[in-house]
Amino acid sequence: MKVVLKHLTKKFPSRNKKSHEEVVAVRDFDFEIPDGELIGLLGPSGCGKSTTLNLISGLQKPTEGRILFGDEDVTDLPPEKRGVGLVFQNYALYPHLTVLQNILFPLENLRGAERMSKDEMKKKAYEIARLVQIDSLMDRHPNEMSGGQQQRVAIARALVKRPRVLLLDEPLSNLDARLRLQTREEIRRIQRETGITTVFVTHDQDEAMSISDRIVVMKDGVLQQIGRPQEVYDDPANLFVAKFLGTPPISVFSGRVQDGVLCVGRDAVLRVRGVGDREVVVGVRPEGYVLREGGPLCCRLVRVEVMGRDISVVSAHDAAQSETIRSIISAENIASVHGAEVGFGLKPAKTYLFDPETGERILFEAL
């Protein structure tokens, strides 16, 4: 089911009673989720991603804008009429019911023609439990299960009514690191097998990048960029997106363009075309550094971290906006990292220019 958000805006009345200013959680959202895709809503906490999810689920009403499932306008429908499945961050499994009873709960709410017989319900519950691989735990109570198992039950409960859209609110944040890796594969598999359009919210860019068909980056209620994970990573729309994606993070320098040459501090690092003389912010991905004796970007070496396949060179530069910058280079080059100084060349495709005021991307052509 295709989901279309049209100029979606959600304002909350201010908590501070004295000021009547409204808090805008989501501002003029406009995008389309293609049928059957897994979408990651990504952003720092408080950016409005959970609000967006609640607007899609119908738990909250938008102040302005429309929501469409396929061609049907669901903006004014209550959650139960929208056909959504929602998995909560804390799972919200009913603790006094067994796994089976939890999964049956949504089915037992059905009335009229949709109502199934007891046996049918049970059959469906087991079918979905097999999909998420908890069919051997049906008689347990939620508090007798691990976090990962509870997560699966929550997904099963959300899926048992065959929703048109599945929504997951921070599905992995309550799991430990190992389980997180496992469960995200699991979510991917379940989504692929069911083919249900799925939206999940996360603040972890790693999580979003690894399993999403598309990611939506948000900041302060404003959509920053939508695209396939690799596209967004390779082609960030602005400094925020560039900084938010990628581990280790992008390194940021103050620089300027003068006569077609990009300068970082006193180092002339790249020849660029298409940018007039101006101040810029330079972002370089860790993999964008080329270790070269006498390379144009001259940094003080702080330390070298060996990671096996790669080495991570931690160094400092006066024009850098952070204390240290981190570059990832192939471990074969480890011999050439020595002394107090280290020189880098920059890969033009991994180097980005941004406006220092607005943070908007400045496109350039490398020579």
Partner: protein, 296 residues
């Protein structure tokens, strides 16, 4: 390990001493008195040992009256007060405006002086040479016949006693239940809404099980409190409860010890043991029921 154990007993000693002196010793003493015939606390003498005391009180019409009153009081007030308190709490937690005001109003009886409350009930129910009381005014207004609630027929007096008891115990129950309702994670309700759960089903399948430990606590303490009722009856009907047919078991025990016809610690002890047995039985039944319906 051994040394630690000794230390533990040392730390427990103050509590154990108090419990022993003020709980265990009197308990054992009451058991002993209840089987000693005609025990006299002044001369410390008794005639013999046996079940005579029990036989006496179980044939005493005053005791049987007190037993009947207590059982009616328990059977009426515990379910009613808990049920009404639940309704009011659910109502309170589903409104936004004026919620604090209502909460305060419902909590007022808890902090109001008992004598003031007694006076209010007098104005409501008491027949005096000058007035029939507010309730009777209402009854007459709607064409009914005035009833003497304080010195009149048994059912009227019982009604006043139950009414008073329910009103007095309500605030505490509302307080407990509103906080229990507030502690239910709202995500459960959101999850239920997304699944299209009807409101009644949300209440019976989610809200009630979630707050069941608190309800259970209120029922148990409610039963015990109602079995121990005495002062409420005195506040309404005066000290001569036997004459008013409004005595309770605890009232009977008190009368047997200190009342005008008192001075019978053996009978009082036997009555106390009977009360204890009843409360124990009821509590055990409660526990058995709770095992199936209370979810922690």
């Amino acid at each position: 390990m051994e040394k630690n154990n000794n230390k533990a007993w040392l730390y427990l000693l103050p509590a154990l001493v108090f419990l022993a002196v003020f709980m265990v010793y009197p308990l054992i003493d009451v058991c002993i008195y209840s089987i000693e015939e005609g025990y006299n606390s002044a001369s410390q003498t008794f005639f013999g040992v046996g079940a005579y005391n029990y036989s006496y009180i179980l044939h005493d019409p005053y005791f049987l009256q007190a037993l009947k009153n207590t059982l009616i009081l328990v059977a009426v007030t515990v379910p009613l007060s808990t049920g009404i308190a639940l309704l009011i709490s659910v109502g309170l937690s589903s409104i936004d405006r004026l919620r604090n005001l209502y909460q305060t109003v419902y909590f007022l009886p808890y902090v109001t002086n008992t004598l003031a409350v007694g006076l209010v009930f007098m104005i409501l129910f008491k027949k005096t040479p000058y007035s029939d009381g507010l309730v009777n005014l209402c009854i007459s207004f709607f064409g009914g016949e005035a009833v003497d609630f304080i010195d009149g027929p048994y059912w009227a007096k019982m009604f006043v006693l139950c009414f008073y008891t329910i009103w007095i115990v309500m605030p505490f129950k509302i307080l407990i239940l509103t906080s229990a309702l507030a502690s239910v994670n709202p995500d459960y309700y959101s999850a239920a809404r997304v699944d299209g759960t009807p409101r009644w089903r949300i209440f019976t399948r989610i809200t009630l099980p979630m707050i069941s430990p608190m309800i259970f606590y209120l029922v148990i303490t409610g039963f015990i409190g109602a079995f121990k009722a005495y002062s409420d009856a005195v506040a309404l009907f005066g000290t001569n409860l036997n004459a008013a047919e409004m005595n309770t078991i605890v009232g009977y025990i008190y009368d047997m010890l200190y009342g005008d016809s008192g001075g019978f610690p053996s009978y009082a002890s036997a009555a106390a043991i009977v009360l204890f047995a009843i409360v124990l039985t009821v509590t055990c039944i409660n526990l058995l029921v709770s095992r199936r319906h209370v979810h922690y």
